[in-house]
Amino acid sequence: MDLILEGLALSFTLESLLAITIGVAAGQILGAIPGLTASMAVALIIPYSFYFSPWVGIPMLLGMFKGSFFGASTTAILIRTPGTPAAAATVLDGHPLAQQGKGAKAMKMALYASVFGDTFSDICLIFFASLLAIVALSFGPAEYTVLIALALGSLGMLSSRPAWKGIMAMLLGVVIGMIGLDPITASERLTFGNPELEEGIGLIPMLIGFLAVSEVFRQMNDKTEDLSGDAVWFSSKPEDNRVSWPEFKSCVPVLFRSSILGTIIGAMPGLGATVAAFIAYGEARRTSKKPEEFGKGSLEGIAAPEAANNAVSGSNLIPLLAFGIPGDIAAALILGAFMIQGINVGPLAFSQNPVPLYAIYGALIMANLVNLVLGFGLVRIARFAVKVPRRLLLVSVLVIASAGSYALRGSLFDIQLVFMFGLLGFVMMRFGFPTVPLLIGFILVPLLEENLRTVLLLASTYDESLLFVFQRPAFVTMSALMVLGVLFLAHRRWRKRASPTPKS
């Protein structure tokens, strides 16, 4: 107990609070700029972090990461441009709400969901870190394969009429996702000998082009649209600009489920916030009472991805603290910052010197509160920032999209990609092809392929061949749960059919 207080005392200081505030503010702003990620900002700061005391530098970094997730969703909602890839799923329901004049409501829902997801996963980190870490470590390629296959199944049900258009879009996404090096043999696929394509299509230029630039093209092409009005219209009715208590309450189950999903996915190295957001979105739609509202401006459709992507930010510290394994680039940077400051993290830290860990916990919780407070400020600023004529905004989106994609890795090729995907998205919308299946095919199928093929490679080393997966407790547990789930659904459907209710 003394140790806990000692740790909290380290981070509950005025300097730390100030550092967190600066970090969260910087993170929110950076997150809102497409192409600029919190990871890049942290990389820039690291050479200077020697000159900070640890309890200024580390809280600032943590604040930055948390702030960036929410910042990214404001642009996703208002101008259909996800500030970071993790906010791509927020576009799906956030932007329709903004078009209905309910942009402020959408942003506030995103803020509540972000802070909820953050806090949930921080609590899991504090109380169940070692337990969750062991669960996460027992997940190997076999379990990842099942998990991603499940996610694909649940996302694949996202409706599109006619179905063949959805399937075509998804297959196109798969083909685009396959460009680059083969995950097992590392030979080149679909690169046409172009070294720029060897590492595959970058997620950021692809998302910015496909979601934001395509929308700009659409509006420019649409002769009936009035381009002289305000870029984003805000309703003057107060109930359209806030999230009411009943609305929030109806999202609570989704918030919990998505936070759990995000926490589990975040604890496993290699899946990440973007995947978590899409999986939570699909899961929310599958379990929703009003699935027909998804894609048209459902609050649950914002709550799910936002809670899940923020939950990742806390739980990817779990493998870091428990095993010294950074779950993603953000965690790797935080690890670097800890090390520069001479703080050991890893399995021995808990027993040898847990005080810095408690200080980290304190900083995390504080960062969540600061994120909530500053988030309201950002919503106000964002509303103000889009008060420009639409034609000006369209041009600025093109400039920001190009500059952001170039900034990421200094590649002109990425700007070409932005416009190619902008054109592709525009053509698809023009001919009534759904865009979401393409994103899912692009993001999830390569992960599925990588893990499935690793499983097949592993199978070749066992006498029992592919059946080796049944020696893995995590695989057996997951498969059992999946079978039970399918049986439950089938039972429910069968009962519904047996007793026809007046419900449509």
Binding site: S39, M40, V42, A43, L44, I46, P47, Y48, F50, L137, S138, F139, G140, P141, P183, I184, A186, G193, P195, E196, E198, E199, P269, G270, P319, F323, G324, I325, P326, I329, A332, L333, G336, M339, I340, G342, G346, P347, L348, L408, R409, G410, S411, F413, T454, L457, L458, S460, T461, Y462
Partner: protein, 318 residues
Amino acid sequence: MIRLLKSTVLALTVAALVPGAAMASGYPSKTITFICPYSAGGGGDTASRMIAKLAGDMMGVKINVENKTGGGATIGIGAVSKAKPDGYTVGFVSTSPITIRPHMMKAPYHPLKDLTYMSQFVASNQPLVVLKDSKFKTLKDVIDYAKANPGKLKWSTSVQRGGPHVAVEAMFKAEGAKATFIPFKGGSKVLAALLGGTIDFGMMSEGTKATLDGQTRILAEGTPNKNPVAPNAPTLIEAGYPIAPAIFFGVAGPAGLPKEVLDKWDAVMAKVVKSSEFVALASQRKWALDFAGHDAFTKIVHADYNAAKIAVAEIGMK
């Protein structure tokens, strides 16, 4: 009006003279671009930014880090090789894209002809690690198992087709043993796979800290530099195998850099690696500091390039 014209002429003359004057007083006189072929946040990027800051302070100029990624780091290095050889565009280089990958793919440069190797500042360790309670106690145990059970042993390294991958494949080839390489993206995922029981051994820099943390044991070292955490573990060369490539971080420029530039960087980098900031960063990241100036670094690169060429051809990796 005349006064304005006069001062303009004066200003222009001064402006025209300044570069000349600076040239005479020596390199460097303006901002240097430092190309990092890896994305922001990785080890290569952190090292680049640290070097840029410290070397820039010592030379009294600004050094801008530019991330030019892609093509397994060959795109950024290609940009360095095509820059004007005046010392104002240099870049970060590491083992894979210099001594290993060019034998397997078409790189946009020839490592021995198109680049000048200025200084090596880090030579990291690549320990071969097994779980703490693994049945393998020595490197020989691993080899014996692989021989007795062809293809059953599972292992990985942080970079597929990088230096350690080639070194271990060459070891199995020399023993006539067969094992299965399972690719993972990055050393931390290899460590996770090892701890989770998916693979039997790994070779990655993360193994050093994991051993200090009591999770793993080191059986051998995949570079020429003994691992400080396990001084008794032999390097692959000591164990009698064909290759143990140096895993280095260095600075390189385009071919044909003037001697003045090379001397300046040799002097500055020798000081940078001794600076307290860099020593702290390296010790926390478990980088072994191993400074080598222009001549020594060039020798290391040439020797490793040629050794890897033979090894890659022998094991038939392409």
